[in-house]
């Protein structure tokens, strides 16, 4: 088919060694997909204008769900009728994004027939994002999808699709079953995921160890990060092999030829100074270790996390809007999370979300609410005792808001009693 729109600026993005989304979409446009041709046309116009050309969403969706679909319309539909409606569907990805091709093709096939043929693998939340459907196609797409065993993810003031790292499926450091947790939480909260009823969005993200490959500490309201309480496991033979230059440093991350200087690269960079190396034996004072992962990353064949594993739970991370960015704060220093035994976690999540749902203002993330009402108030709500692990340092201002019941005799006093002892 002839090229529908000239795209001289986008054509520049076909050059260079990195795979080109333009080349990809162009091929599908040339094969006759109108939405692809018109998307490129409209994008070219945006490149010329240096302004986007999408209209604010409008409410579209599938029956009975309050989310999972983001409405979008072109503001130049007469030029690009193929993208006049360009709604997206968020399709809940399988935890940690392994695919059986046969199953992935179910989605690709539906999307090819009923949608634009363009998608994000994956959106930043984790969902597969099907980009560009007409309103009348939404319900049929949903019907076909669910009949094949797929469902929509979350959007709006709801639970957002949980996501997790590759975990035990293919990583030796996973201290918890990230996929199973992710799947269980997703199933447990189906109603909250599909029917927005909260002050704002809420995200769970699960990483198997403190390397935090899904960046949960930076972007999830409830960040679950695997950790351990006992000793780092040491394989003395492998330590000797690292010392002897037989094994590459940092799991080969700096090339197989880069070897390890155990003193300089491991012991001296340990942030707590809890390691020692005498040229033969590596020792770790585990009581002082903060489980930063540095030494383990450096010597993956010699060191492994301990076996008394569980998770640290941090709450309240979010991007800057509105009150400025926040990282997650430690709330539960350690929670056991053996496969299938997630009662403690569900109890905790329920208490935390109830408190937020009750006290949060419209469009207030839980992290902002904690800032507004205080970390202590939140700890009380989830029934956790204060602990130095909750803070980086104790307060340095003297403005403690004592409650009346904390002070003997309370706040009610008689001025006459005072005046008896003190002249006016």
């Amino acid at each position: 088919m002839a090229i529908k729109h000239q795209t001289p600026m986008l054509d520049e993005l076909e050059k260079g060694p990195w795979p080109s989304f333009v080349t990809d979409i162009k091929k599908m446009a040339e094969a006759g997909k109108e939405a692809c041709a018109d998307l490129l046309g409209q994008l070219e116009l945006s490149y010329k204008d240096k302004e986007g050309h999408w209209k604010h969403g409008g409410i579209v969706g599938v029956l009975g769900y309050g989310g999972g679909v983001i409405g979008r319309y072109s503001d130049v539909p007469e030029l690009f009728p193929g993208v006049e409606h360009f709604h997206t569907l968020r399709v809940n990805q399988p935890a940690s994004k392994f695919y059986k091709t046969e199953r992935l093709r179910e989605i690709l096939d539906i999307w090819n027939r009923r949608g634009s043929g363009m998608l994000n693998l994956h959106g930043s939340t984790g969902d597969m994002v099907l980009l560009g459907a007409f309103t009348e196609e939404l319900e049929p797409i949903f019907g076909e999808m669910t009949s094949k065993g797929w469902d929509l993810g979350g959007s709006g003031s709801a639970l957002r699709t949980p996501s997790c790292c590759v975990g035990k499926a293919r990583c030796e450091w996973a201290c918890i079953d990230t996929q199973d947790l992710c799947y269980t939480i997703t199933q447990e909260f189906q109603d909250e995921l599909h029917r927005p009823a909260w002050p704002y969005k809420f995200k769970f993200k699960i990483s198997g160890c403190p390397n935090d490959c899904v960046a949960s500490i930076a972007r999830s309201d409830c960040s679950i990060i695997g950790t351990w309480r006992d000793d780092i496991r040491i394989n003395a033979e492998a330590v000797a092999a690292y010392a002897g230059g037989e094994l590459a440093a940092n799991g080969g991350a700096h090339g197989q030829e880069t070897k390890l200087d155990i003193q300089a690269d491991v012991v001296d960079l340990c942030p707590t100074g809890c390691m020692a190396w005498d040229g033969k034996t590596l020792t770790i004072n585990n009581a002082e270790c903060t489980r930063c992962m540095h030494c383990i990353n450096m010597m993956p064949q010699a060191l492994r996390p301990g076996t008394d594993t569980g998770a640290t739970i941090l709450v309240g991370a979010k991007a800057p809007i509105l009150e400025g960015a926040q990282l997650g704060s430690v709330i539960v220093p350690f929670m056991k999370l053996e496969e299938g035994q997630y009662g403690d976690l569900m109890d905790f999540a329920e208490k935390a979300i109830d408190w937020w749902d009750e006290n949060g203002k419209n469009r207030e993330r839980i992290g902002e609410l904690i800032q507004r009402l205080g970390l202590s108030e939140f700890l009380k709500a989830v029934e956790i005792d204060p602990d130095p692990r909750h803070i980086r340092e104790p307060r340095s201002n003297p403005y403690i808001f004592y409650k009346e019941d904390e002070v003997p005799g309370g706040f009610q006093r008689d001025i006459a009693d005072y005046r008896e002892k003190h002249a006016r």
Binding site: P19, T101, A218
Partner: protein
């Protein structure tokens, strides 16, 4: 309608696993990066699993996804996976298959191996002009231009440590880019332009006012062509160009060809390795939008990466390097200009000022 299926959730994860993953779940002993883009995982069962990593463009067609499926069918028993950073991973257990797989990928031309270890892996990013309504910049095009330029670091391990780059196309930061070694952020610089004649019809005025985090919006009556409309005004001095009002009210667009562009941030990290996770800090407040290839942005990012590569200690992330040498040295070594905009004046600003006589000349 009766038989309508709802609330089934995603397919269970293990329906998507090849036998080798099922059999070795939780049994992995260690990994080793054999070469850029090729990982070896060894299990306590003795199984060796080779993973080959190539970049995905995130935005792709079903045809492109089908290409990946075909490779997975041919070499990996019909299984593959995506990483959080939009990379694609093919897994094989047999060394001879590994070589055949590598060759097949090389023949494709757009599937270069890399994204492992001390290099630059794929850029996590948001929608940009391809789908969203509030972006200040495009996403996919900027990513393409930056990765073309940094391509030598995709397939090599020659940086001091991994460099994670992220992009978000407005202050909402959907991708939560605020903890990246280098963050590319789309920013608006002009307050919303208000369509008084339509605002009351298109928007709910109280929610629009409430949407503004700095309370810059006030109700007002405005006259247009002799007619008086209920509308709002924006106190320009209080506006931080966040676009929250536009999300609530389409009669207040922010996008502007001259006003919009890119800010660059550096030195964030999310891992707990050595130092604690940290936010990215402002490096360059504004670079104009330069489609299609954003040359100034590309050049400055390279400048930062090269200064880091030349000066950081091995294993040191960008933020750890900047903190060790001091931010005064960071600006000197990267050749970036320091301006008023680098000094925080939002909430908690004072916590970022220097309260010490310790600094370097």
């Amino acid at each position: 309608m009766q038989d309508r299926i709802t609330d089934i959730g995603p397919p269970k994860y293990d329906e998507m696993w090849p036998d080798v993953i099922k059999d070795n779940y939780g049994k992995w002993l260690y990994h080793d990066i054999l070469e850029p883009g090729v990982l070896l995982h060894v299990s306590e069962t003795g199984t060796k699993l080779y993973t080959v990593r190539i970049p995905g463009t995130r935005l792709m067609t079903t045809d492109q996804a089908e290409e990946y499926c075909k490779i997975a069918d041919e070499f990996c028993d019909g299984y593959f996976r995506f990483t959080t950073r939009n990379n694609i991973e093919f897994m094989v257990t047999d060394e001879s298959k590994l070589e055949a797989l590598k060759k097949a990928l090389a023949d494709k031309g757009n599937m270069p191996l890399g994204g492992t270890g001390a290099g630059v892996t794929n850029i996590v990013h948001t929608q940009g002009w391809v789908h969203c309504h509030t972006p200040a910049i495009d996403a996919s095009g900027v990513v393409k231009a930056v990765m073309d330029d940094l391509f030598e670091y995709w397939g090599s391990h020659k940086l001091p440590a991994q460099v994670r780059i992220s992009l978000a196309c407005c202050l909402n930061m959907c991708g939560a880019v605020h903890c990246s070694d280098i963050a590319i952020l789309g920013v608006h610089r002009k307050p919303p332009v208000i369509e008084h004649s339509h605002l009351d019809k298109m928007c709910e005025i109280p929610t629009t006012i409430a949407a503004c985090p700095t309370a810059a919006i006030k109700p007002s009556k405005e006259e247009v062509d002799g007619e008086v409309y209920k509308s709002v005004t924006v106190n320009a001095d209080r506006c931080m160009f966040c676009g929250n009002c536009y999300t609530m009210c389409p009669a207040m667009p922010l996008a502007d060809a001259d006003g919009d562009g890119i800010a660059l941030w550096v030195g964030g990290k999310v891992s707990n390795t050595r130092s604690m996770p940290k936010f990215s800090k402002l490096a360059v407040p504004f670079i104009p939008n330069e489609p299609p290839r954003w040359p100034t942005t590309v050049k400055i990012i390279r400048q930062i990466v090269e200064a880091y590569a030349a000066d950081a200690n091995r294993y040191e992330r960008v933020g750890e390097w900047a903190e060790r040498i001091g931010w005064e040295r960071f600006f000197e070594k990267t050749g970036l200009e320091f301006s008023h905009h680098h000094i925080d004046d939002y909430r908690f600003a004072a916590t970022t000022w220097r309260n010490s006589t310790q600094f370097k000349w």
